[in-house]
């Protein structure tokens, strides 16, 4: 199969078969090729070290993802060292927006590893398929069982315990399929107490409780078409954020969709897949467990999104194309109500998101031509229309008098990429150009307290579009036992949006030291570099390594915040019969290029050593795996460059888990 890309992926409808297998019997269930134009990083939801991971832990194992951590839960993913406003975060192409002004609920916190099948990470403008972006896209793929000829049940149960924070989890999923109907269901519970850092001190307010369940059902309406409905319900309660002055009392999300897929046997159009979706997120913070707080404050937030995704896949000879229409409307509301010390006095109220509506309509396209057996060209682009409306625009007028209530922006995007394979080498080079609109907080946020630099942030509705110019290249070498790949990308981002100290106004939140307004830098540059390799020392003994480097600078050569210092991961994996053993070492070097202007201080280097062992066995017809391991075996006391408030990370943690599947 050709590297990169034009991969054949079986649709939900097809009977289960490997792509290479051409001898599929052609009867009432048919196999249709879906065409993926882009290169995508597909992954199984488990890491090298751990088989039962949270979505965050799983994402962390990807080379271009890093995290801002405010505690043990709901980490904010950074793609290419850029924050989540610059990333297109979707679930099956559906847009969902967190309801917390402090980004305590990235949408990755509303799914669970047992209802996902893969996460597609696309770097840069090539990720504009689902909407405008700068850093790329992260699409969380839901589990969906294919139709089968005979009625079939399958399922899995996972349980585990982690000693450090007494995390206990139970997760189950069950699927049924026959030739007309498919149902997937999952349920999970996680409960964790406070974790202890490398000095064995308890990190207070780091507990969490999470419940997640999902249900999906598909019905085959004809041999070539099917209807599918999906729902995820997620609830987190009593989640501590040690780096913030408040915790989460409750967050809930309902994520629903109904899709219809039609396939075509002949002609240019192969698949037409349309989906309507609705999701609602609510997020309520709680500061009553923090007696040190002078002010009691309620900060509820709501985010509701309706949307449509419609996509067709075209293929003819050496040409393949995806065209996708995205449309959504989101309403984000966040309130703050401060209680005076004398509760008889009047409470103080303001909106931190003054009922901001965002509407987006965009058409995206990706095209691939196989020029020869060895080379391929991908060209794509998107044109989006982004509309914002603030219902209570008078809040924004306080800092930006007379700013219009509505704002419409055009968001064009273009990208091109050339790929070449010869012998054991592969090479790719690409370029991209794209706009993004400011996020709700950047545009309309009002006194949003950022506990990292301790400033209150004010949005600016008149911000210009952020414009990204991007170049990327990769070079790989692959032989039977050895592989090595070097990747680099460079972003020149015009009108880069950051918070700058305002010389007017005064802080509203009592922990805050001043007011910052979102403004545009003339430009910023970002460079990401990674080199990864693997070597099969023996058939059952494999080594893997990865080194990443990034540098981000503003227009005056100053450092951008949250840029990962030089970091490494190296691991050895050994299997013998039913026993597997793996050990890994990872760490960051000292963060020399930190940014005091954005509240950063120098973060020391650290190294973390992990080991784990697993044993596979059968119980009757069920496959079972039991795993025991330890993370941070040296019990290192550390915090990373992106840990909010230098909150120390977890110390030594012993984990055990059991997975039974049938």
């Amino acid at each position: 199969m050709k590297k990169l890309s034009v991969g054949l992926v079986l649709l939900v409808f097809g009977i289960y078969a490997k792509a290479q297998d051409s001898q599929i019997k052609q009867d009432s269930t048919r196999r249709i090729d879906e065409v993926h134009v882009n290169r995508m990083v597909k992954k199984k939801i488990e890491t090298e070290m751990k088989m039962s991971v949270s979505v965050d832990e799983f994402l962390a194992s990807s080379e271009n993802i890093s995290f801002i951590k405010r505690g043990a839960y709901a980490w904010e993913p950074l793609l290419n060292n850029m924050s989540s406003e610059r990333t297109n975060l979707t679930i099956d192409g559906m847009h969902i927006f967190g309801a917390c002004t402090d980004k305590m609920d990235p949408i990755t916190s509303y799914v669970e590893s047992n209802n996902l099948s893969a996460i597609d990470i696309t770097s840069g403008q090539a990720g504009s398929m689902h909407g405008s972006t700068v850093s790329g896209s992260i699409d969380l793929k839901r589990k969906s069982t294919p139709f089968s000829l005979d009625p079939k049940w399958s399922g899995a149960y996972q349980t585990g315990f982690e000693w450090n924070n007494k995390q206990f989890f139970n997760m189950g999923n069950l699927s049924y399929s026959d030739d007309k109907f498919v149902a997937d269901g999952s349920i999970s519970f996680r409960k964790a107490g406070n974790y202890a850092d490398g000095h064995n001190d308890e990190v207070k307010h780091s507990q969490y409780h999470k419940f997640n369940t999902s249900l999906g059902m598909a019905y085959k309406t004809s041999p070539l078409s099917a209807l599918r409905v999906d729902a995820i319900f997620d609830m987190a309660k009593d989640v501590g954020f040690p780096a913030l002055p408040m915790d989460l009392w409750l967050s809930r999300a309902l994520i629903t969709s109904a899709s219809y897929k039609q396939m075509f046997e002949d002609g240019l159009v192969k698949v037409w897949d349309s989906k309507i979706y609705f999701n609602a997120v609510e997020h309520y913070m709680d500061d009553t467990t923090r007696p040190e707080n002078l002010v009691h404050m309620d900060m509820p937030g709501w985010s509701t999104t309706y949307g449509l995704v419609s996509k067709i896949n075209l293929k003819k000879d050496d040409y393949a194309s995806e065209i996708q229409l995205n449309a959504y409307e989101n309403v984000s509301i966040a309130e703050m109500r401060m209680y005076p010390q004398d509760r008889n006095n009047r409470t103080m109220f303001a909106y931190s998101w003054p009922w901001v509506t965002t509407r987006y309509v965009g058409l995206s396209m990706n095209n691939a031509w196989e020029i020869s057996d060895k080379s391929q060209v991908n060209v794509g682009g998107a044109l989006g229309l982004n509309y914002n409306h603030a219902k209570y625009v008078e809040f924004n007028w306080i800092f930006h008098p007379g700013t219009p209530q509505e704002k419409t922006r055009f968001l064009p995007s273009l990208h091109a990429n050339y790929q070449l394979n010869f012998d054991s080498f592969n090479f790719s080079a690409g370029t991209g150009y794209g706009h993004r609109a400011p996020s709700v907080s950047e545009g309309y946020g009002y006194y949003i307290y950022n506990s990292f630099d301790r400033y209150d942030y004010i949005g600016n509705p008149d911000l210009k579009n952020e414009i990204s110019y991007e170049m990327n290249a990769s070079l790989g070498f692959k032989k039977e036992k050895v592989g090595i790949e070097v990747k680099a990308n460079y972003f020149y981002i015009q009108n880069y949006i950051v918070g700058r100290i305002l010389n007017m106004g005064s802080p509203m939140n009592y922990q805050s030291v001043g007011v910052k307004g979102y403004t545009s830098l003339d430009h910023a540059t970002l460079f990401n570099f990674s080199i990864g390799g693997h070597y099969d020392i023996l058939q059952n003994l494999q080594w893997k390594g990865l080194l990443t480097y990034a540098r981000g600078q503003d227009d005056r050569g100053g450092n951008l915040p949250f840029i990962r210092p030089l970091s490494y991961q190296t691991s050895v994996h050994f299997t013998h019969h039913k026993i597997g053993f793996q050990t890994s070492l990872n760490g960051d070097f000292t963060q020399n290029n930190y940014s005091p202007e954005y509240g950063e201080d120098k973060t020391s280097s650290y190294k973390i050593w992990n080991v784990s062992a697993d044993y596979r066995f059968n119980i009757k017809n069920c496959k079972a795996v039991v795993q025991v391991g330890a993370e941070n075996l040296w019990n290192e006391y550390y915090s990373t460059y992106a840990d909010w408030g230098n909150i120390p990370r977890m110390g030594r943690n012993i984990f055990t888990s059991l997975k039974v599947g049938f």
């Binding site: 059902m217 409905v229 729902a231 319900f233 409750l250 809930r252 309902l254 629903t256 109904a258 609705f278 609602a280 609510e282 309520y284 002078l294 002010v295 309620d298 509820p300 709501w302 509301i333 309130e335 703050m336 109500r337 401060m338 005076p340 010390q341 006095n345 009047r346 409470t347 103080m348 109220f349 303001a350 909106y351 209570y392 008078e394 809040f395 007028w397 306080i398 800092f399 008098p401 006194y447 305002l502 007017m504 106004g505 005064s506 802080p507 509203m508 009592y510 922990q511 030291v513």
Partner: protein, 307 residues
């Protein structure tokens, strides 16, 4: 279909949020009642004429009151041809001493709207000790007569219409009264205030009581009110707001400025009053320090508001 029903039911469950969203309009209404309608506040019938005195909500409040006077023939109900209407409010205390308050003595005729317009800034509410009387004089169809009417002045519940009485460094007595906004918003608000000065009488009282020269107030011209709004609540740490504009006098004689309220609650409008020559008559600078946990400092010239 069952599935859809299930989904719909699930939607309803989650759409019913755990905590209700705040109704922003109602939120401001909780402590502020806005009055927009002029209603009868007092009425006198004399010499065959009916004099109707109107104020917002039909009530005289402590602070600034816009006054409308309508004079009709008490038999026919027709608008009478009236001129030279004067208006003088006087308060008498338990000792029998008299004093007035800022007011418009010569009411202005609004012929198109058929009423006489004036105002009074009542400095005290009516009580057992303090009682207010209005002394009116008017000429109807060539006939001039005087009218006295006792009125009831109530406490102003809306703090956004508060007032302050003080003595300036020039030893004059001043009154600052807030006129607008009645119902502020978390927003930019046009701030409107009147500044008045008591005219100390030069001559001894003459003629019949009351002698208007003994009870004279003038609208102060050409002054400036520097504005610095703060939230005095200790937990707010002396919070202020940006983009405020000092109050300066406009053609209507009143002082106009802009105040930004960044959230609902208690606010203090700190003022520094300067005369035409830029000399400070009253008021002190409030420090900018962020002082969480300590009640905010105030200028010695300030008005507290609440919304």
């Amino acid at each position: 279909m069952k599935i859809l029903l299930f989904m719909a039911a699930l939607c309803v469950v989650v759409m019913s949020c755990t905590k209700g969203k705040t109704d922003y309009e109602a939120e401001i209404d909780t402590v502020v009642t806005e009055h927009v309608e002029f209603k009868e506040a007092a009425t006198v019938t004399t010499n065959g004429y009916h004099i109707r005195i109107e104020a917002l909500n039909g009530t005289f409040y402590k602070g600034y009151n816009e006054i409308r006077l309508k004079i009709t023939n008490s038999q026919t109900g027709e608008i009478s041809n009236t001129s030279g209407v004067t208006f003088l409010p006087i308060m008498t205390n338990a000792m029998g001493e008299h004093q007035s308050c800022p007011h418009r003595y010569q009411l202005m005729e609004r012929s198109d709207e058929k009423y006489f317009s004036g105002y009074a800034v009542f400095t005290e509410k009516s009580s057992l000790d303090d009682s207010w009387n209005l002394y009116l004089s008017l000429t109807v169809n060539g006939q001039t007569f005087q009218v006295e009417k006792s009125i009831n002045v109530q406490e102003q519940a809306n703090k956004n219409l508060n007032m302050t009485v003080f003595t300036g460094k020039d030893n004059e007595q001043y009154i600052i009264a807030l006129i607008s906004p009645q119902k502020p918003k978390v927003s930019e608000n046009e701030l409107l205030a009147g500044i008045y000065r008591y005219q100390k009488p030069i001559d001894n009282p003459s003629g019949v009581f009351p002698d208007p020269t003994q009870f004279s107030y003038t609208e102060v011209n050409g002054y400036m009110l520097q504005l610095d709004p703060r939230m005095p609540e200790p937990s707010m740490g002396n919070h202020s707001s940006p983009n405020n504009k000092d109050l300066t006098q406009q053609n209507d004689g009143l002082y106009h400025g802009v105040v930004n309220y960044t959230m609902t609650g208690n606010w203090t409008l700190n003022f520094i009053m300067q005369n035409q020559d830029g000399q400070i008559i009253k008021g002190t600078v409030v420090p900018d320090d962020f002082t969480p946990g300590i009640a905010g400092a105030k200028s010695d010239l300030h008005i507290d508001i609440l919304f």
